[in-house]
C-alpha cells in the first residue's frame, strides 16, 4: 500500500509539473504582469518534493521517497511540455520520425510481448539520447523563441516590457534562469546568490564572452543543454 501511495504521489507531482508548464504556455500573461515580487511567474511556482531547497543539488528529504528515473513514456511527454512543443524529429528519407519513439524499446520501454518490465536505471543510451537530443531540441528552441513575440516565448521571457530577446542585463538573465530551473526541475530559486543559479549564470557569461557571432543565442543554447543533460531532469 505504501508503494501505491508513493506512486500516486509521484504521478501527482509529474502531473502538476506538466500542468504548470502547460498553463504557462496557454495563459501567457502580458509582459507587464510577468514579474512578481520574487521575480518569477506565479504559474511557474511549484515545489519539488525530492529536492532540498537550501542546496543546489538533489537530495532526499528525510521523510520522503528516494529518487527515481522517469520512464520513457514520461520523457516522451516531458520534452515538448518543457520546450513549448518541440520534439526531436528527424527525416531519414521515409518521413519525419520522433527519435525518442524510435529508440523507446532500447531506452527500456516495455513492448509488452517479450518485455513487460521497464528498467528505470540511468543508462548509456539514455545519456547519449539526451546529449544528442538536447543539441537538436535546444537549437530549434533558440531559433523559434528568438522569432516569437515576448508573451509567446518559452525560453527567454522579457523581465520588463519591451526588452529584446538578446538583452543580457543581469536582471533579465537571472529572471530567466530562475524560470528555467523551475521549468526543468520544479526547483524554486528566490535568492540571487543561490549556488545553482550562480553556476548557470557563470556558464551563460562564459559562453557570451567566447561566442564569436551570437553571444545571446549561444549562451541560452548552452544553458538549455546544461539543463536538459542534468541528471535531475530525468530523476525525480
Amino acid at each position: 500500500m505504501t508503494i501505491f501511495y508513493h506512486k500516486m504521489i509521484c504521478r501527482l507531482i509529474i502531473l502538476g509539473l506538466l500542468l504548470c508548464c502547460a498553463c504557462d504556455d496557454q495563459n501567457s500573461p502580458s509582459p507587464s504582469s510577468l514579474a512578481t515580487d520574487q521575480g518569477i511567474e506565479q504559474s511557474d511556482m511549484f515545489v519539488h518534493s525530492a529536492l532540498d531547497m537550501s542546496t543546489n543539488i538533489a537530495v532526499e528529504p528525510t521523510s520522503a521517497r528516494q529518487l527515481r528515473r522517469v520512464s520513457v513514456e514520461q520523457l516522451l511527454r516531458m520534452l515538448p511540455q518543457v520546450t513549448g512543443g518541440i520534439r526531436w524529429i528527424e527525416d531519414f528519407g521515409q518521413g519525419p520520425v520522433d527519435i525518442l519513439e524510435l529508440l523507446a524499446p532500447s531506452l527500456g520501454a516495455p513492448d509488452y510481448r517479450g518485455v513487460t518490465h521497464e528498467l528505470l536505471e540511468p543508462n548509456l543510451l539514455m545519456s547519449k539520447f539526451l546529449s544528442d537530443g538536447a543539441q537538436r531540441v535546444c537549437h530549434t528552441w533558440v531559433q523559434q523563441d528568438r522569432s516569437a513575440l515576448g508573451a509567446e516565448r518559452t525560453l527567454v521571457k522579457p523581465y520588463q516590457e519591451g526588452l529584446a530577446w538578446d538583452d543580457r542585463s543581469t536582471a533579465q538573465v537571472r529572471y530567466n534562469l530562475k524560470r528555467l530551473l523551475l521549468r526543468f526541475f520544479a526547483f524554486t530559486v528566490t535568492q540571487d546568490d543561490h549556488p545553482r543559479l550562480q553556476a548557470l549564470e557563470e556558464l551563460f557569461n562564459t559562453v557570451v564572452a567566447t561566442s564569436p557571432t551570437d553571444p545571446s543565442g549561444d549562451a541560452w543554447f548552452a544553458v538549455c543543454l546544461a539543463l536538459m543533460t542534468d541528471p535531475e531532469f530525468t530523476l525525480y
Binding site: L119, S127, S131, T206, A222, D230, P231
Partner: protein, 489 residues
C-alpha cells in the same frame, strides 16, 4: 555441501591455499562483521556492498584471460521432440500416442527435415537441431529440467534470475547481471559490461555498472557508439568547453555534498550512475567501436557471409548471433543476454512449418556463433573466445509431447537446456525425461545419471552450475540451486 567439500579438498592440496584461505576468511569475516553491525543498526547491506564481497570471492578464482558469459534465449517454449530430446518414431508410432503420450509429428514437418532423430557421436538430436551435432564435443545437454510453470513470464524470469518469481514478478538480479558484476575483477575496458538484447534484465542487488544496457536492435547499438545518426553536431567548440567545465563543477558539487551529508543510498546510486553515464556516453563516440556493428557495411562482408545475413535483415537469429559475437570479440561486453529466436509459441497448425523453421534457424545461428567464437581470440589474451565463454541456451519451457486438436503443441513443464564452453564437460547428456508423457526424472548430480533418490534439475541448479563453471562463487542466499558437478570439466 559437496561443492564446499570439494573446494576444501582442493585448498588443502594447493600450495597457495593459505593465501586463498586468508583472503576468503577476510571477506567472509568482513561480510559477517558488516552484517552484524548493520543488522544491529537496523540497516541492510546495500547491493554494491554485497557485490563487493562476492567480487572479492570471485577474484580468488581469476585466471589468465577474460571470463565471458552468454545467456541465449529461444522465446516462446521450444519443442524438445524436434530439438533436444527426440524420440524415434519407430518406438513411438503416432497411433500409440494415447498410450505413450508422445507423438513425434516428424512426418508433418517440411520436407527438408529428417523423419527421425539424428544420431551424433555423443547424443541424438531432433530433426531441427541437426546443426548442433558439429559441436556435440563442446555441449553438455541437460534434459529433464523441471520448470514447474506453464506461464511464459514465470519460466523466463526463473531462468533469467535463477530465483523462482513471486507470482509473475521477478526476484533478484539477472544471472547475466550478477556475472557482469562478478567478472569486474578480470580487468579489460568493456564499455558496456553487460549487453541485453530483446530480453528483460534486472539489477536488484548488484553494482550499478553491471546493469544491462538493453538494446532492441543493432541499429540502436550503432547509434550509441557513433557521434550522431549522421546529423551534424550543433555543438560549437567554445560551448563544449564551457559545458565540460560546468559539468565537472557539478560533479564535484555532488561528491562534496555526499561526503558532508547523509544521502539516501539508492538516490545517491542513481545520481552517481546518471553522472557517470553522461561522461561515458561522450567518451563512447570517440572510439571506432560502431564500425564493428555496421553489419551492412562493405568492411563486414565476411561477417555477413559467415552468418548468412542478408543486407538490411539484421533482426534475425543470425543477425542477433553476430551481435552477440561482436560484443565479445570487440571487447565491448563480458556478459551478453540475448533473445536469439522469437515466436516459438505455436499452439496451432503453424507449428509444423513455423516452429520447425524457427527452431532450426536458432540452432543454426548458434552453431555459427560457436564457430565464430572458436576462431576468435580472447581480447584479454586467454586463448579462443569459446574457451573463455560459458554459454547457457534455454527456453522458458517446452511444448507438449502430443499434438493438440489444432495440430500444434501447448505448454509443457519438462524442459531441456544447453551448457557450452568454459568450465563445461561437453559431449554428454545429463538427466532425462520419462519414456511416457516426457516428465522430468530425478538425477544424481555427481554422475548425471537417472537416480530415483537424486534431485530434479531446476533452473537455479542450471544457472548455478554455469556460474561455477566460470570459476565464480555466488552466495547460497542469492541463488539457492545446487551445482550439477557432473556437468563441470
Amino acid at each position: 555441501m559437496k561443492e564446499k567439500t570439494m573446494r576444501k579438498d582442493q585448498q588443502s592440496k594447493d600450495p597457495k591455499s593459505m593465501h586463498h584461505l586468508s583472503r576468503r576468511s577476510f571477506y567472509k569475516g568482513l561480510g559477517l562483521g558488516l552484517g552484524g553491525v548493520l543488522g544491529w543498526g537496523g540497516v541492510s547491506l546495500s547491493g554494491d556492498s554485497l557485490a563487493t564481497i562476492e567480487q572479492g570471492l570471485a577474484q580468488e578464482s581469476q585466471s589468465n584471460g577474460g571470463r565471458y558469459f552468454m545467456h541465449l534465449c529461444l522465446e516462446g517454449g521450444w519443442d524438445l521432440l524436434l530439438g533436444l530430446d527426440p524420440r524415434n518414431p519407430l518406438d513411438y508410432p503416432d497411433q500409440d500416442a494415447s498410450a505413450t503420450g508422445i507423438e513425434t509429428g516428424y512426418t508433418r514437418l517440411p520436407i527438408q527435415f529428417s523423419r527421425e532423430p539424428i544420431r551424433g557421436d555423443h547424443f541424438e538430436l531432433g530433426p531441427c537441431a541437426e546443426p548442433l551435432h558439429a559441436w556435440s564435443e563442446q555441449i553438455a545437454l541437460v534434459r529433464g529440467l523441471d520448470m514447474a510453470t506453464l506461464t511464459h513470464e514465470v519460466g523466463r524470469r526463473h531462468l533469467n534470475t535463477a530465483v523462482a518469481p513471486s507470482g509473475l514478478s521477478a526476484r533478484g538480479s539477472s544471472v547475466s547481471t550478477r556475472i557482469a558484476a562478478l567478472t569486474e575483477v578480470d580487468g579489460g575496458q568493456q564499455v558496456i559490461p553487460h549487453l541485453a538484447h530483446l530480453v528483460e534484465s534486472y539489477n536488484q542487488d548488484q553494482m550499478s555498472s553491471a546493469t544491462a544496457l538493453q538494446v532492441s536492435s543493432v541499429d540502436h547499438l550503432q547509434y550509441l557508439l557513433q557521434e550522431t545518426l549522421g546529423i551534424p553536431s550543433y555543438m560549437p567548440v567554445h560551448i563544449r568547453g564551457a559545458l565540460n567545465r560546468y559539468w565537472e563543477k557539478q560533479q564535484n558539487e555532488y561528491e562534496r555534498h555526499w561526503q558532508s551529508q547523509q544521502v539516501n543510498t539508492e538516490s545517491k546510486r542513481l545520481l552517481d550512475r546518471a553522472l557517470k553515464t553522461r561522461v561515458q556516453a561522450r567518451r563512447l563516440v570517440t572510439r571506432s567501436l560502431h564500425e564493428s556493428f555496421q553489419f551492412n557495411a562493405d568492411h563486414q562482408a565476411s561477417l555477413r557471409a559467415h552468418y548468412g545475413i542478408a543486407p538490411n535483415q539484421l533482426d534475425t537469429p543470425f543477425g542477433r548471433a553476430a551481435l552477440a559475437a561482436q560484443a565479445l570479440k570487440t571487447g565491448l561486453s563480458r556478459s551478453v543476454h540475448l533473445n536469439l529466436v522469437n515466436n516459438l509459441d505455436t499452439h496451432d497448425q503453424q507449428w509444423a512449418q513455423d516452429h520447425s523453421t524457427s527452431l532450426y534457424n536458432g540452432f543454426l545461428a548458434l552453431s555459427k556463433l560457436l564457430e565464430d567464437l572458436a576462431n576468435s581470440p580472447d581480447p584479454l589474451g586467454g586463448g579462443s573466445l569459446l574457451d573463455q565463454t560459458t554459454i547457457v541456451v534455454s527456453s522458458e519451457f517446452s511444448r507438449t509431447p502430443r499434438l493438440n486438436v489444432r495440430g500444434g503443441r501447448d505448454h509443457h513443464l519438462c524442459n531441456a537446456a544447453l551448457l557450452i564452453g568454459r568450465g563445461i564437460q561437453g559431449g554428454q547428456v545429463l538427466g532425462a525425461s520419462t519414456n511416457e508423457f516426457m516428465s522430468p526424472l530425478r538425477i544424481n548430480y555427481a554422475t548425471g545419471q537417472v537416480d530415483p533418490n537424486g534431485r530434479s534439475i531446476r533452473p537455479e541448479d542450471l544457472m548455478r552450475t554455469a556460474i561455477h563453471a566460470m570459476g565464480l562463487t555466488v552466495s547460497d542466499t542469492a541463488i539457492r540451486g545446487e551445482v550439477i558437478s557432473s556437468a563441470l570439466a
